[in-house]
């Protein structure tokens, strides 16, 4: 809805699909809207391309300086509004972020703090009792995903072309680790955390649900209702558990693939007081 003919990003499409556009005009790279989930109002937050952003390295669906601080503001608005409420509103991060913004100004002006502010806001909302859900509909890359989604109590993802979680883009990772893109792909088949496939990420035990068979680019009405129902179920599940990230270590997949993460905690606890 930015007045141009640019194809909306995945994040925008899913925001539009799940939440009606507000009466007034929206602007800027961070959008927050209310949607109905299972009969209750939830706040949906998305990072969208911002062609006119004054920081030239942050015009795409990336997390830059303004994106980080505006995410923090959007999340804290819900936190503040519900401070006295007995039941805290669910917050859904719609994740479609290619990367953090790479630039000289970004570093000088503290993009690390801007992203940390978003991390802080999401984590604080979770600790305050808000069910925080991440819905991955596109790339969820590296620092951008840390800032927008990775502090969620529950993570759900679409298993569709174009969705991926990773620490670095494939081409850059190939350069840094001195491998070819092809060898990086085949490595991902044996070394699970290296994989760029969403199905491999699901095996790490970090996901609450991998939603299959949904058209991520042009969702049907049925697709949208399925995702809405999954979000509602994730909210319910989050409310039934502790407000920390411990569910990422207790699933059957986590016990298998993140066995070392579980073992480190077990043995450190045993040595803590001895």
């Amino acid at each position: 809805m930015n007045g141009t003919n640019i194809t909306p990003s995945r994040g925008e499409r899913w925001l539009d699909a799940l939440a009606p556009a507000p009466a007034g005009a929206e602007s800027g790279p961070v959008r927050a809207r209310d949607a109905d989930l299972d009969g209750e109002a939830a706040r949906l937050i998305a990072v969208v391309p911002d062609p006119r952003n004054r920081f030239a390295r942050a015009t795409d669906n990336v997390v830059g300086l303004e994106q980080g601080w505006l995410l923090a503001r959007a999340v804290r608005a819900v936190l503040d509004a519900d401070r006295a409420a007995d039941v805290k509103r669910p917050i859904v991060a719609i994740v479609d972020v290619k990367s953090q913004a790479y630039g000289r100004r970004e570093e000088l002006l503290g993009i690390h703090l801007a992203c940390a502010a978003a991390v802080d806001a999401y984590a604080s909302a979770r600790l305050a009792g808000h069910p925080v859900i991440a819905l991955i509909v596109g790339p969820a890359m590296s620092g951008a995903y840390l800032a927008h989604g990775y502090q969620a109590n529950r993570i759900v993802a679409l298993d569709a072309p174009g969705t991926a979680v990773h620490a670095m883009g494939k081409e850059a990772a190939a350069r840094v680790t001195r491998r070819s893109v092809e060898s990086l792909d085949s490595l991902g088949d044996t070394v699970l955390p290296m994989s760029y496939k969403m199905s491999a990420y699901a095996k790490l035990g970090l996901l609450h649900e991998l939603i299959q068979g949904v058209d991520a680019d042009a969702p049907s009405a049925g697709d949208i209702e399925r995702v809405r129902a999954s979000l509602g179920a994730a909210v319910k599940d989050a409310r039934g558990g502790p407000p920390d990230l411990s569910s990422r270590l207790t699933s059957a997949d986590a016990k298998r693939t993140r066995a070392a993460s579980v073992e480190v905690r077990r043995r450190m606890r045993a040595q803590w007081d001895s």
Partner: protein, 285 residues
């Protein structure tokens, strides 16, 4: 003392290993390492890629006392894989902070310290390093509501990637002049955005932007220290002495949005930023 004498009297923090650093900061005779090298908890993923493991995976967790109070220090070893965070090293840091929170919730005091020296995620363990960093961040946010979480960036690796966000979440951040703090390393920026955006070989420019002196001057870190172990220790103790602030730096959303609005992206450099952001944060905020 002459300048030369005071320099010689210093005990370099930078030149120490992670284990030596943790040892030097804790009160004498109180150091006790958890999950040390003899526990042999190594990365399950590096061996699969024919990379030699280290028996502590590059993270040293030590309990002891600091200024007479119980403490836990998580120290990252820069000499192993550039201080990168893998599944095991990340889980060790997260677990130490989670157990520290357990102490607080049980009514026991504890002083958590993180010694950062890291390029961020270990790319050979990619998604599990990233997941561990999210858990470290979650633990810092939960813990610092009760007690200051103090971070030190000694150098020379610096603190980058997802761990730069973890550093930014710390209540107090101590840096040397040699230390750098940034989200994206200069080489990564040059590769992604081109040499016209940033020349990664221009060391003077890099340090003027993201070095300890600039970070403290503009309020993105709290205390600048010389490369001297006694100064680092004093700064850490002082950070605990200040207690939990009414507002952490990462909570000052309106303040930083306003500061950002003062910046003209087409005309900004490290010196200009110092005039724009002086007093933005730091020790006295």
């Amino acid at each position: 003392m002459t300048t030369q004498e005071s320099f010689l009297a210093r005990h370099s923090f930078i030149e120490m290993t992670a284990r030596e650093r943790a040892h030097a900061l804790l009160d004498a005779g109180t150091y006790r390492e958890l999950l040390g090298p003899f526990d042999k908890l190594e990365s399950p993923w590096l061996a699969m890629q024919s990379i030699v493991c280290q028996s502590d995976d590059g993270a040293v967790i030590a309990r002891g006392s600091l200024g007479g109070e119980p403490a836990v220090i998580a120290a990252i070893e820069p000499a192993f894989q550039g201080g990168s965070i893998g599944e095991v090293s990340g889980a060790k840091i997260a677990a130490a902070l989670e157990l520290a929170l357990g102490e607080i919730e049980a009514g026991h005091p504890i002083r958590p310290v993180i010694l950062f020296e890291t390029g961020g995620v270990r790319l050979q363990e990619a998604n599990l390093g990233l997941a561990a960093i999210a858990e470290i961040q979650a633990a810092i946010v939960a813990l610092r509501r009760h007690v200051p979480v103090v971070g030190v960036i000694g150098g020379m690796v610096g603190c980058f990637g997802g761990m730069s966000l973890a550093a930014a979440l710390c209540t107090g951040l101590v840096m040397t002049r040699q230390a750098r703090l940034g989200m994206n390393g200069p080489e990564v920026i040059e590769q992604e955005a081109g040499v016209a955006e940033l020349d990664a070989s221009d060391r003077r420019l890099i340090w003027s932007m993201i070095g300890g002196e600039e970070r403290v001057a503009v309020g993105l870190a709290d205390t600048l220290v010389e490369d001297d172990t006694a100064q680092v220790r004093d700064a850490v103790l002082a950070a605990f002495g200040r207690g939990v602030p009414a507002q952490h730096r990462s909570e000052d959303v309106d303040g930083f949005i306003e500061r950002l609005a003062r910046v003209n992206p087409d005309d900004i450099d490290p010196d200009t930023l110092r005039t724009l952001w002086t007093g933005a944060g730091g020790q006295n905020r």
